[in-house]
Subunit: 221 residues, 4 copies
Amino acid sequence: MKKYLMELIGTFFLVFTIGMSVLAGGDGVIPPLAIGSVLMVMIYAGGHISGGHYNPAVTLGVWLRGRCATKDVIPYMLFQAMGAVLAGAVVRYVMPINHPQIRHLAVMPELLAEFLFTFALVFVVLNSATSDDNNGNSFFGLAIGFTVVAGAFAVGGVASAAFNPAVAVGISFMGMVAWTKIWVYLLANFAGGAFAALAFHALAPETRGAAAKAGKLQTNP
Amino acid sequence: MKKYLMELIGTFFLVFTIGMSVLAGGDGVIPPLAIGSVLMVMIYAGGHISGGHYNPAVTLGVWLRGRCATKDVIPYMLFQAMGAVLAGAVVRYVMPINHPQIRHLAVMPELLAEFLFTFALVFVVLNSATSDDNNGNSFFGLAIGFTVVAGAFAVGGVASAAFNPAVAVGISFMGMVAWTKIWVYLLANFAGGAFAALAFHALAPETRGAAAKAGKLQTNP
Amino acid sequence: MKKYLMELIGTFFLVFTIGMSVLAGGDGVIPPLAIGSVLMVMIYAGGHISGGHYNPAVTLGVWLRGRCATKDVIPYMLFQAMGAVLAGAVVRYVMPINHPQIRHLAVMPELLAEFLFTFALVFVVLNSATSDDNNGNSFFGLAIGFTVVAGAFAVGGVASAAFNPAVAVGISFMGMVAWTKIWVYLLANFAGGAFAALAFHALAPETRGAAAKAGKLQTNP
Amino acid sequence: MKKYLMELIGTFFLVFTIGMSVLAGGDGVIPPLAIGSVLMVMIYAGGHISGGHYNPAVTLGVWLRGRCATKDVIPYMLFQAMGAVLAGAVVRYVMPINHPQIRHLAVMPELLAEFLFTFALVFVVLNSATSDDNNGNSFFGLAIGFTVVAGAFAVGGVASAAFNPAVAVGISFMGMVAWTKIWVYLLANFAGGAFAALAFHALAPETRGAAAKAGKLQTNP
C-alpha cells in the first residue's frame, strides 16, 4: 500500500505540473523543463519506496524486465491513473479554463512520435535504474527526467508528448486532448514500453554477470 | 553558531537571487532557473555544515522527522529570516525600485498551490537528504533545487511560489507582495512541511531497516 | 553486435532530436537543450553496453586513447551513420519540409568552431568516462551532454554545431546543410577527436598510476 | 606544466563561450546557461588534472584554504590569463565586431554584485571540491557551474557578471567592457575569493575531523 500511495503522489505532481505549466500558456521552453524536472525530483524522492514509475508504460516495461511483482502491476497502474485524475481535478479548480485549445495533429506521426520516445523513456529507465551494471548510481533520476525534456522538445510539434498512459488520462480529463484520441497514447505508449523491455534484454552486455559479481560499476567503455 | 551562520548565508543568496532576477523583469523562464540553481548550489555547499535548510518549513519538516535538534529549530528559523531581510536590503540598495507591481492573486488557489509545492519540496528533502536508503548520494541538491524550478514554473501564474516562510518575509520586505498576505505563506508553507514529514514516516519502505544495516543504496525497484 | 545496435539506437535518437527540434523552428534556446539532453540520457542508458559514443569522432578518440578495440572502430562508425540516416528518414516522414532554409556560413570560422568544440567534446569524454582517476563517477553523461549544450549555444551562430560526423551525415540527408559541405565536418570533427586524444595523453596527471592503484577518486586539487 | 596547460585550456573554453554567446546577441537566457555549462564540463574534464580553477579568484581561495601549492599560484593565474586572451583573439577572428555596445553600469552596485557572487562561487568550490566531508562526490562540477548560471541571471542587469579576473581580462580584450574598469573586477573578485576562504575556515563543521577519519560522506544533517 505504501508503494501504491507513492505512485499516486508522484503521478499527481507530474500531471499537476503538466496541466499548470501548459495551461498557463507562456513561453514554449517552460513546460518541457518543468515537466522533466518534476519527474526527476519525484523519482529521486520515491525511487527507494516504489521504484518511482509514475507511468503505466514504465510499470509494464519493469514488469517484463522482471523487477516488478506481478501482483503489483494492476494496482500500480490504477493508483497512477488516480493520481492523474486527482491532479486534473486540482488543476481545473486552481486554473479554470472552459475551452482549452485542442490541436489537430495527424495520427500517424503522433503515433510514431509517442512510440519512439516512450521506447526511449522506458529504455533509459531500465538501463539507468534496473541494470546491475549501474548499481548505486546518482544519475538515474536526471537521465529519466531529461528524456522527457528532450522528447517534449523534439516531438512537441507533432504529438502531445505524453509518453505515459496515465498522463494521457490526465490531459484528456483536463480537456487538453479529446477522449476519442486516448487509444493513440494507450497503443503507442504501452507498445513503446514493451519494446524497450525487449531491447533491454536483447542488448544486455555479455559482461553483466561477471561485473555484477565483482560489484563493480562499469561506466567506462 | 557555525550552522546558524551557514543558514543565514544560504538564505541570503536564495532571497538575493529571487529579488534580483524577478525585479530585473526579463524573460519569464529566467527566475525559476536562477532560483532553483542557487538553492541547489547552496545546498551542495552548506549541506555538510548545517544540513542546508534555508527554509523554516524545511527545518520544521526535518525536526518532525527527527534529524534536527529541538534547540536548533528556533535559531535556524531566526537566522533564515535574518538572511532574507539582509538580502532584501541589499537588493533594495543595488536595484532600487519604488513601486514594484503587486499581482492580485486569488487566495484559495494560492494557498493550495503554496501548500502542494511546499509539501513536494520538503518531501523531496526528507527522502533525498535524510533517508537511510539514499546515504551518500550525489543527487540531493539537484533534486531539491529542481523541485523549486518545477514548482515555480507550475504555479507561478497563480501564486508567488515562495514555498518558504523566510522567502515570504524577504519578498514582503522588498515590496513584491503585501505584508497583509504573509499569513498565506506562513500557513501554507508550514502546513506543507508538516504534512511532508507525516507522509515521509507513513511511506517509509518496510525494508529500510534491513537496507540500512546492509549499508546498501537502494535505487532500484 | 549488441554494442553496434546500441550505437545505432543512440545515434538515431540524437539525430532524430536534432532534426525535429531544429525544423520545428521555435525558440532558439530549445534545440541545444534538447540535443544535449538526449545525448546525456542515451549515454547514461547505453554507456555500460557500448561506451555510448554515438559519434565517429568520439570512437576515433577513444580508440587512440586505447579503450576501443580496433576491430570495433569501423563497425561503430557504420552503425552510427546508419542510425543517423534512419533518423533522418523518420524526421522527413514525420515532419515533411521541402525546402529547409540553408544558412550560408563562412568556411574558415565554421571549420575552426567545429574543430574547437569537437576537441572539447572528445576531451570531456576521455577524461570523464575513460580516466582511471574518475572511476565510478555519476557525472560522465551530464558532462558530455552539456558540452554539446554549451557548444551549440556558443558557436551556433557561425557553424552548424555538429561536432560529430554522423550528425553531419544526418543533417545533410535531411537537407539542413548542403552535401558539398560534408568535408568541413569530416575534417574538423575527426581532427578535433584526434587532437583530444593527444591532449588527453599529454596532460595525464603524474599521479594517475598511484591513484588508480589506491582505488581513490581524485576530484580535489 | 601539465596542470598549467589544463588551466589554459579550461579558461580558453570558458572565455570563448562567453564571447561567442554574448556577442551573438540572442535570447538573454542563453549566455548564462552556456557559460555555466562550459565551466561545469571543463571542471569535470580537468578537475583531476589541475583542480579545475580557470579563475584567479578560485586559485587565491584554494591557496588560502591550503590546497594549492604556493609555487603554483602565479603560474596558474598567468596561464588562466593567457587562455582568456587567446580565447578573445579567436572570438575576434571568428565573429569580428568593431564596436560592441558597452553598457554603463553604476560602480558601487557592480562592485557589490561582483563581490557577492565571487564569494558564493569560491565558497561553493571550497566546500564541494576541497572539503573532506564531500570526498568522492559527483556533484562538484554541477554545483560550481550552476553558481555562475544563478549569478549571471541574478546580477546580469547591474554587473558584467565576470566573477573571475581572467574573464575580466578576456571581456576587456574583446572590447565588451572598458579597460579602465578592470580594477572593479580585480578588486571585487579577489576580495570575494579571499573572504570565501575565510568563511570556509570559520564555518568548518566541528565533526569534520571525525568524519574524515571514518571515511564517511556526510550529506545528511
